[in-house]
Amino acid sequence: MTVPSPSGPAPAVTPAVRCRSLGVSFGAVRALHHVSLDLAPGRIHALVGQNGAGKTTLAKVLAGLQAPDSGEVHIAGCKLPSGDVRAARGAGLAMVHQHFSLPPSFTVVEALELTAFRPGGRSVFRRAELRRRWQSAAAEMGGEAVLSTRIRDLPVETRQSLEIVRALATDARVVILDEPTALLTPAAIDTLFERLRRLRDDGVTVLVVLHKLREVAAVADTVSVLRDGELVLGPSEMSELSQGRLSDAIVGPASGADRTVGVEATVDGERQTLLELVGVSSRESAFEPGLRSIDLSVETREIVGIAGVEGNGQRSLVSVIAGLNAVAAGSVLLGGTEMTRAPPARRRLRGLRLVPFDRNSEGISRRAPVWLNQSALRLIGRPGRRLPLISLNQYKRQATEALDHWQVRYDSVSQPAESLSGGNVQRLILSREMAPGLEVLVAAQPTRGLDFSATNFVRRSLQRLRDSGAGVLLVSSDLDELFELSDRLLVMYGGTIVARFEAPYDRRAVGDAMTGALR
């Protein structure tokens, strides 16, 4: 006599997504190893993990963009052929990519039509017909005018809406979003999460890759954790999971805690202005407004934060300070010396250092070996030496010391820099830029896309730098980071500084200034 117990196994529901022992390797690197995962239909599943844990790879395998070396994927009970985007789309699975995945010169309708999977549709079209077909999509993005706008002219939020709209255009039953919050303002993140909840309520299964535990707690029903390519937790109900257990799963057993590294700046005790911009303007570029009479200064022993929605001139600002963009009016001073027209090398010799926006394309030479990337600064202007000769061995030795000091994880100093993980690339850049001689550091989005421990490491390093006497200009789109680190906070909007704040900061007031509500 058997009575089904109420606490017994739940009735078997076909999982919306099922993967069985997926394995993917890139050369010697194991991106995924024996990952088996069942996602219940009609829920929001979060996928978390450190950088390089394999989250994006798993998402790509599910979407058919990456063929696994082993294992299989089932959507709603049907096995998918591996590495076939069309089959995945046909089975009702759509993916919203971390990096936007639409060609910049396409108009919105063209982009929608490019990815539409409507078998039997006519292959030749007229413009008006296209606009009619995608009218309903336009409503979600704020009006029909958007349909003939080029992708590159869209604000970040609209671009992401478009990615979601196009993912849903074919009645997707499973939507995968790869780090959708990375580029959004807090308000836009709320809107996005609201949208995900609506999708779930319509019965769509959502898998979202997230970085911040706060966001996981805000939106997810279940959470799964990847570490070093293996599934170490989940999917577990959020309600049954403590924050501590989750963090432990992500970071793994203590592996020699990350200590911060001491940095010695060469600035003496007296308070002085290290970097000053007076009435600086610059030409607009195609993707950012030009600067309009910017006044700002960075003094010794302070971190000045620059907040703002991306695309409001932050890139132009950093380029102008670094000497990569021409100044149309006004002047740039370093340590009181006029540097408006000085080439980048002279500015660096004067103590300016830079952590650029995009670490992979601007911060390192990707194909060059690790040691050469580390040594690059030492190659410009070595006063006091007459012969332009260098000793490779000495450079390699110095680079190795610096890399070990900054705890960069690498196999060999001769491996190409692009083979390092994101966090290690950022450590490499810091180890180079924070070398002696530093007076003022411009750090642009220094923690974007980094995992918890690497983010902490970078933030502590900036604080130590400040405490040792240097000035830091911190450009970030992460308000929490700015609030935590900045001694003063400036808000950029439309190419100029619209508001200045002192701690303690009022999140709402800063947010208003960021959206131009002050003007």
């Binding site: 985007v85 990096h99 060609p103 910049p104 010169s105 990815t115 195609a286 993707f287 950012e288």
Partner: protein, 305 residues
């Protein structure tokens, strides 16, 4: 004046055809510097097969086949084999120029030039004065060229195929997320490109002229490539640019006849090239904005090949 316009059409037609070929390749993201080689191969094959069979249609079909086969080889070298696109393109040009010169000697046992009677029909003939001169004596391919350009416009700008091709050229990752195989798309674009080059070459040898001469393309493939850039890789734009270069050429030829007493011949011969440099400069100015925008996108780009 009528003479200049007639000459313009005659020298522009091959340029426009080959420029259209270049647009297809460019939209797939390929800087096709093999246009010259394919063009001269097309010119030679048309004459050779035409002479052997007595049929100009068979000659053109053979030229299209050979050029498409060469394009497939080019695709294989730059795609699966991963060779540098520019170097492989220049190699293709060298093979075309050298190969046709060699074949001329090997097959017909002549050096330099071969005359042929097997030429394209000319729908309108016998007009010797007035505006009619413009369209008289033009080969059938000159008449068809506007239709071919229009067809290219529809395919590239008003079809799914065109959208996919543009995505492959601009941002391969976008194409992949749309379930498109960039490599196959590049092959298709190169095959179309090869067929158009064959037509351009045929117009040169058996449309405007009655012969094949070693190196008779004389840089037209490169000028066509310039027309692609100048026409911002738009099929109509490139065709207009081709027409413009044809006009420049015609002016050069005409003034050679008329004003050589007053201006040194060398200066007159320079006109097309000076105009080319000017055009490229203008095109560069026009494009600067879009290039900056693309630079801004660099960080979003995923290395795809």
């Amino acid at each position: 004046m009528e003479q200049i316009l007639a000459t313009t059409l005659r020298s522009a037609a091959p340029l426009v055809l080959v420029a259209t070929a270049g647009v297809f390749a460019f939209r797939a993201g390929i800087f096709h510097l093999g246009l010259e080689g394919l063009m001269i191969t097309g010119a030679f094959t048309t004459v050779a097969v035409g002479e052997a069979t007595g049929s100009v249609e068979l000659g053109i079909l053979a030229a299209i086949g050979v050029c498409m086969a060469l394009s497939a080889v080019y695709w294989w070298v730059i795609g699966p084999l991963g060779a540098n696109v520019i170097i492989a393109g220049l190699g293709l040009t060298s093979i075309g120029l050298g190969g046709t010169a060699f074949a001329l000697g090997a097959i017909f046992d002549v050096r330099g030039s071969i005359f042929t009677d097997v030429v394209l029909p000319r729908p309108v003939r016998g007009i010797t004065s007035g505006p009619g001169v413009i369209i008289a004596e033009q080969s059938i391919l000159v008449w068809l060229t506007p239709l071919i350009v229009l067809a290219a416009w529809v395919v590239l700008r008003r079809s799914r195929f065109g959208l996919r091709l543009a995505a492959v050229g601009e941002y391969p990752f976008a194409a992949r997320t749309a379930g498109v195989n960039p490599s196959i798309m590049r092959l298709q674009a190169l095959l179309i490109s090869g067929a158009l080059c064959a037509l351009g070459g045929a117009e040169l040898s058996v449309g405007a002229l009655h012969n094949f001469t070693e190196n008779m393309t004389n840089g037209r493939g490169f000028i066509a490539f310039v027309a692609v850039i100048f026409g911002v890789w738009h099929p109509i734009g490139a065709a207009l640019a081709g027409l413009f270069f044809g006009f420049a050429d015609a002016v050069g030829i005409q003034s050679q006849i008329n004003i050589t007493e007053r201006v040194p011949r060398e200066f007159v011969l320079m006109i097309p090239f000076v105009l080319t440099i000017f055009a490229v400069w203008l095109g560069g100015l026009w494009r600067r904005r879009s290039l900056e925008a693309e630079a801004g996108y660099a960080e979003l780009r995923e290395p795809d090949y």
